[in-house]
């Protein structure tokens, strides 16, 4: 059953891609995917936290007593989330303002605690690093995909670094339902349906 290092990395990209396969971490998936830019920002911040916490948990896995492991993981994760928050505030303030409360909420994103508990606490540093990286990138790509669908249909534009790029042409009537909250659920449902359709073969 032992997987190669490449497999550890790749599994988070497709086979176990968090929002679509494991259906985990849906709060940010639904809430911030109004624009591609937000999706990327959220994904990168989550990846940073995931990789750092995975590495640290794997390093300390023999030291942490099992009775207080969850508390220790939360301390580790919360530390990295706060670091991410401070860094975003200092360097990408407009993005930080848009993501708002969802940056501190990365702490309770179950992908991160889930990977710490299910993977990093049982595996070596290198494997945990690759696992975190794979899941993080998978998460980022899923957010981007969902955000792209929603933004394209909802506004006709795709936003990268503050610049909306018009894709659909002037004939397009923005279907603004997609960038509203209920549109997020419907878009996610259709996306899951598509993933199952593709993955079932």
């Amino acid at each position: 059953m032992a997987k190669t290092l490449t497999q550890e990395f790749v599994k988070g990209l497709w086979d176990e891609v968090p929002p679509f396969r494991l259906v985990l971490g849906l709060c940010p998936v639904l809430a911030v995917t109004k624009a591609v830019e937000n999706g990327i920002g959220m994904g990168v911040a989550t990846t940073f936290v995931l990789v750092c916490s995975n590495v640290l948990v794997a390093t300390l896995r023999k030291v942490i007593p099992s009775k207080v492991r969850i508390a220790s993981y939360i301390i580790i994760i919360a530390t990295f989330v706060t670091i991410a928050e401070l860094l975003m505030q200092a360097y990408t303030y407009p993005l930080f303002k848009k993501l708002g409360i969802f940056i501190p909420l990365i702490v309770v994103n179950c992908i991160i605690l889930g990977r710490a508990e299910a993977f990093a606490s049982k595996n070596g540093i290198l494997r945990s690093l690759l696992d975190g990286l794979g899941f993080g990138i998978g998460f980022t790509l899923s957010l981007m995909a969902l955000a792209a669908v929603r933004e394209l249909l909802g506004t006709g534009d795709l936003t990268f670094w503050e610049k909306p790029i018009q894709i659909m042409g002037p004939w397009f009537q923005p279907f603004s339902f997609m960038v509203e909250a209920p549109g997020a659920f419907i878009a996610l449902g259709l996306m899951l349906c598509l993933m199952n359709l593709v993955g079932k073969k």
Partner: protein
Amino acid sequence: MLEKRDLLEQQTPLEQKKLIVSHAPFYHSGRRVTERSYHTMLAALPALLLGFYHYGMPAISVVCLSISTAIFWELAFNLVAKRTITIGDGNAALLGLLFAMLLPATTPWWAVITGTFIAVVVGKQIFGGIGSNAFNPVALAIAIMMVSYKELFDFDTALLNYDLEFATIYPLKAAKYFGTASLDSFNLVDLFLGRQLGGIGATFGLGLMLGGIYLMLRGFIRWEISLTFLAGVYLAAFVFNLFDPVRFAGPGIHLLTGYTLIGAFFLATEDSSSPVNIIPMLVYGAAGGIMVVLIRNIGAYVDGVVLAILVINLLSPLLDKIRPEALGKVM
């Protein structure tokens, strides 16, 4: 065993669900879905014809486009999902027709096509086809289109270029923004005879009522739902009107304008999204009627009928928990 189950799940149309049981009561009319669809379309005809008379060619083209695209989406989804082709049962055509009846006659083609896609695919087929939808597909489609394209449903501007023999202002909008004084030019008989602005087939009160009564007599819809829905509207509007007659229109106006009548007879009564027991049906209808007036009078939207129907659709499975206790018990 597992394979067999998978096979069963893949072929979801009604006739294959032999072993799936839902609780009583069942209303058996001895008829099939097809008949039901065509009778409902027949019942909608009087209101539709008056719409054609008022709005002419554009109204006819909206209705035709809506029906044909609804059938097309159903066929397309059947093919993609590898299910039995169900366009023959007429339900898709009925959805298309009802959807078009709620639209203003000048609705552009792309909005009609998007709307029927939402109604047929998102509203009905994704849940597993006819009989499995949680929401009324037409109400869902109209609500989503209303959220996305508010300006399309502004009947004043949408029907600006029509030269009709009656006042060309949308009564509900006038009541909401200019108070009841602006409604003096309307009289209830005119409204009842469809001499008002609105959706293609949603304004002709008499026609809708005749259609509704026909459906009730034939046993296609339940009178409990329609009547309590209207009673809910009437009572709630009456209370509001009593409280502040300057701001809130009277019950007659609320009953005869907007989507109230078409909602009561054709949308709220849709079978799979409404309750099956008597008391739940009464509660369901009344809750819907009260919600309509609440949204119209203190909500953000001019007409709340489709939104109210979606809310009561949500309540419907909960309401169905109110039922007589079963005799005997399972050991």
